[in-house]
Structure formats: C-alpha cells, structure tokens
C-alpha cells in the first residue's frame, strides 16, 4: 500500500469523526419526541431488544439517550457559537480599542471569572425564568472569557508585526487593516476555539440540567436522564446511570479529539508537538 502522509491521515480521521458526530446528531433528531414506553417493560436491564435497558416508565433508554444527546448538542453548538463570536468581538475590541476599553474588558472578564461558573449559570437561568433560553444565555455568558483573552493576545501580537506597520504607513485605515490583516489571521483561532469550547458547553449543559435548571422535564436532555437515575440508584438499577453517562463521555471525548485534529490541520506549528 502506498504510504499516506501524516497530514492526509489526520484529515481523513477528522472527516470520519465529523461523519460519526453528524450521524449521531441526525439519529437523535429523527427519534420522535413521544417515545412512550409501556409499564410492562419498565425497569428492564439491558438486553438485545433494549441495549441500554428501560427506565422506570418503560421507555427505551437507548432512544432517550440519543435523543437527549442531540438536544444537548444543539444547545452546545448554539451556546458555543454565540460565545465564540462574542469572544472575537470582545478580544478585538480589547486589543484594538483604547486603553480604557481594554481595562474595562479585562475588568469584566475578572468579574465573570470571579464567580464560580455553575453558580453564574444558575443565576442567569433563574433570571431568564429557567428553560432553554436561560440555559443558552448562561452557558454562552460563561465560556467566552478564555477565548477572548487568547484573541486579544493574538491581535496585540499581530499589530506589532511589520506588515501591519507598513500598511499603516501606507495610509490604510484601522478598519481596512482589521479586515485585511487581522481578521483573516483570527479565522483558525476562532474555529479551533469554537470546537474546543463545544465539549465544555455540553458538559456544562448536562451539569446544569442535572441540577434541574435546564430544559423542561419533557425534553430528555442527558442531564435529566441522569438526574432521574439518581432516584433508582439505591435499588441497584445501574443502567440508567452508567450507560447514558458513558455515551456522554465518549461523545465529549470524540469532539475533543476532533478539535485537536482540526488544530493540527489548521495550525501547522502545533502539529510538530
């Protein structure tokens, strides 16, 4: 067989992972909302008919898990996309704006980092009257800080580059430089940051809905399934706690790996590590 070089290998692997993730997402989305079970099959351990077993209401846990995963992925994507776009705005504003703007943004970041995120998400969720909106805003509001700092640093470094200085001497406006020299460089940073933020967002979503602040109970978010499983864990029902949680961890690991691979493809420097 012909030898495939490392870059091609990584690209193939990345595409493969994306396909798996999209397949999981689509599979979850296709499952109808009202996958009602019957009490005849309640509390069954995993079997061939129900690979993840059934819950206390006789619903199939495999279907519920994947439905929940796709809901969590939707929330995670939306929240991290909002968060990443916000981070770019804030980061660029901090680096390119006046000193006072920079100080103010750093102060805001200090505040957001100064309150434990779980508590901040609870507060925001409470302020928005719980539900999907509160969850989205809460997760988006807590995840932008580190990416914003990263982008601020990047812009500061770019601005000290000679070609930017030359461009300025040639009389280009700040906005022109921003659009032609700075933003194109931030693309990969932004995209990788977005993908790496994604697993965090999903984990946060699961945690917060586990606490009961997330989606309404009818929506089978993964945190909700695990929170329900708490009630039966004392009776030795292990499958509602273990299998959906394991699925969550595996998917998060997959996304994490995907982010790493994307960074390797997009940022040649880190590929040497």
């Amino acid at each position: 067989m012909r030898k495939v070089n490392r870059r091609t290998k990584v690209v193939i692997l990345t595409v493969f992972m994306m396909v798996i993730l999209i397949a999981i997402y689509a599979f979850g989305m296709l499952i109808p909302d009202d996958a009602a079970g019957s009490f005849l099959h309640a509390k069954q351990p995993p079997s061939l008919a129900h690979p993840f077993g059934t819950d206390a209401l006789g619903r199939d846990l495999l279907l519920r898990t994947f439905k929940g995963m796709s809901v969590s992925m939707t929330v995670g994507t939306a929240a991290s996309a909002i968060s990443a776009v916000f981070a770019v705005f804030v980061g660029v504003a901090a680096a390119a704006g006046s000193k006072r703007v920079d100080a103010f943004i750093n102060w805001v970041i200090d505040i957001v980092m100064g309150v434990p995120h779980t508590i901040l998400v609870i507060l925001i969720s409470f302020a928005m009257g719980r539900g999907l909106k509160g969850l989205l805003v809460g997760i988006a509001a807590t995840h932008w800080c580190s990416l914003a700092r990263l982008i601020r640093g990047e812009v500061l470094q770019l601005r000290s580059m000679q070609y930017v200085a030359v461009s300025r001497k040639l009389g280009k406006s700040g906005r022109w430089i921003l659009a032609h020299h700075l933003l194109p460089h931030l693309g990969p940073q932004f995209f990788v940051g977005l993908v790496l933020m994604f697993p965090h967002a999903i984990l946060h979503e699961a945690s917060v809905s586990f606490l009961g602040f997330g989606l309404p109970p009818e929506q089978p978010a993964i945190g909700m399934i695990l929170s329900e499983s708490m009630r039966y864990i004392g009776a030795g029902m292990w499958w509602p706690a273990v299998l959906p949680g394991l699925t969550l961890v595996l998917i998060v690991l997959l996304i994490d790996k995907l982010g790493d691979n994307l960074r390797m493809v997009m940022d040649p420097y880190s590929a040497q590590e």
Binding site: V115, P116, I122, F126, G236, W238, G245, D256
Partner: protein, 331 residues
Amino acid sequence: MKGTVGRLTRIFVINSVRILTLLLAVSVITFVLVSASPIDPVRQYIMGLGTAVSPEQRAEIEDYWGVNEPPVERYFGWMSELLKGNLGESALYRRPVADIIRERFLNSLALMLCAWVLSGGIGFTVGCVMGMYRDRLPDKILKKVCYVISSIPTFWLGLVFLLVFAVWLKWFPIGFSGPIGVLRDEVTIWEKLYHLILPAFTLSLMSFANIALHTRQKLADVLNSEYVLFARARGEGGWMILRRHGLRNILLPALTLQFASFAELFGGSVMAENVFSYPGLGSAVSAAGLNADVPLLLGVTLFSALFVAVGNMTANLLYGIIDPQIREVDG
C-alpha cells in the same frame, strides 16, 4: 527582606481594593439578574407556606418584603442591611441567610479542603512522574488518563462512585454528612469524615488533571535546563535531581495554581454536594435557585465570589514571594 514585605503589602492592598470593587460589581449584577427574573418569589414563598393566603395577607407579605419598591431603592436597602451583617431571611429554610451560610460553609469547607489537598497531592505526584518519564510509556498513559478525566462530568463520576462503592460494595453510605436518625450534635468527627470520603474523592479526581499537566510542563522545563545537565555530569541520579533541583522550582508554582483554582473547586462542589446530598453551600444554592429563594441565592453568590477572590489574592501574594522580579505595574 524588607523589600519583599513592602512589595507584599502593596500587592495585598491593591488586591483588597480590587476585591472590594469586584464584590460591589458582583452584588449589583446579581441583584439586577435576580430582579429581572420572571419567577415571582412571593408566589413561591406562599406555595412554600402550604396554606391558602388571602389577598390582604399577600399584600402584607409584599409590603414586608418591599417587592413593590423600585429596584434601586431595594438594592440600597439590601446593601445597607448587608453592611450591618444582615443578609436577610431565607424563604426556603426560614432562617437568617447568614446563619445558613456560616453553618453550611463549614461543611463545604471540610469537603473542599479535603478535595483540594487530595487533588493537589495526587496532581503533583502524577505530574512529577510524568515529567520524569517524559515521552516514555508512563508519561503517555498518565497523559491519556488526565485528558479522559477532564472530559468526565463531576456529577456522573459521583454517580458511578455512588453506585460502585455505596450500592454494590456497601463500603460507604449513600449520602448526607452524618448517619440518618442521629442528632446533629451527636455525630462524631469520624462519622463525618466517613461520610466525606466519597464526595471529596470525586471532587479531587475532577481537578487533579490540570495541576498534573502543569507540573509536568514545569518539570520538563527544569530538566531541560543547563544546570540539570551539569548536575547530571556531576553524577546526580534522576531522583536526586528531582529532589534537589526539580521540587524547589515547581512546588510553589503548583501551589499558586492550586490557589487560583478556587472557582472550579466551588463549582465542582456544587455538583458533588448535589449528587451525594451533602448539606453544604452547593446544595443550598441549587435549592435556592429552584425554589426562588432570592435572599439565599444573593448571599451564596456573593459569598462564593469572596471565596474565589481570596484564593486569587493568595495566589498573587505567592507569586510575589516566588518571583522577586514581579512588579505590579499598576492596579
């Protein structure tokens, strides 16, 4: 020496001022968020009473709570009481918020302290091993373990531990900070510790990866340096180098990082306390959020911000001790 003390005092003063402004900002933001909530605390309070309430009584409660006053006035009312040490009364527990925080913080502190020490110890040891065996098999395995563990949600790990150690093996109780059916005063310290092990272990496993990876990097930098090369040339072995050159250089940065991680620690303890029904601040804050207990929610949020700020200040002071070159440029 005098210079060090002076510098530390300056860092201390600057940080104190910063903490005060930060807390003030947090209090304003929290208050705005809570006021903006469409959830009606009065209705939740009445539902909690469990009896029917006539419109007159309701008006009386609203009047007593000052719900109908403008938010700015309410904020200043709350703030002036806060400065007197009165955080209001919890609608959920029917007790002063300050008492609840004091009592539950002691529980949380025990949990977080155990987890903090454990995660620091485990993390540092693992980091040292990884650094010593850099790019060899132990390093590769441990690095994978660290990455996997940081992708596991705290509460799920807690659930699995609960299942394995409490339900199947019956080594540990399922939850609470003391045995059920025993008065709080009669719970011995050993029983408390016994109930603490599982949540503390869960919490510490969640946070050791960070410190381990940091220590690995630092140790690798030290081992690549020229003075270590010289030490090797003098015939010092691996562990002696670690003791003589490694530990001295990496211990304090690791400790600093550990102090700077109070926010994650507190956030993690919210999850761990909920899984193990441990009566600490974390379970109080989620209960407060779910039951629209506004005074308690405000109190715990402010307290958690203070807690994190103290950790960060300690980290800054430690930086000042470690690195004499650090000069705080401006506030």
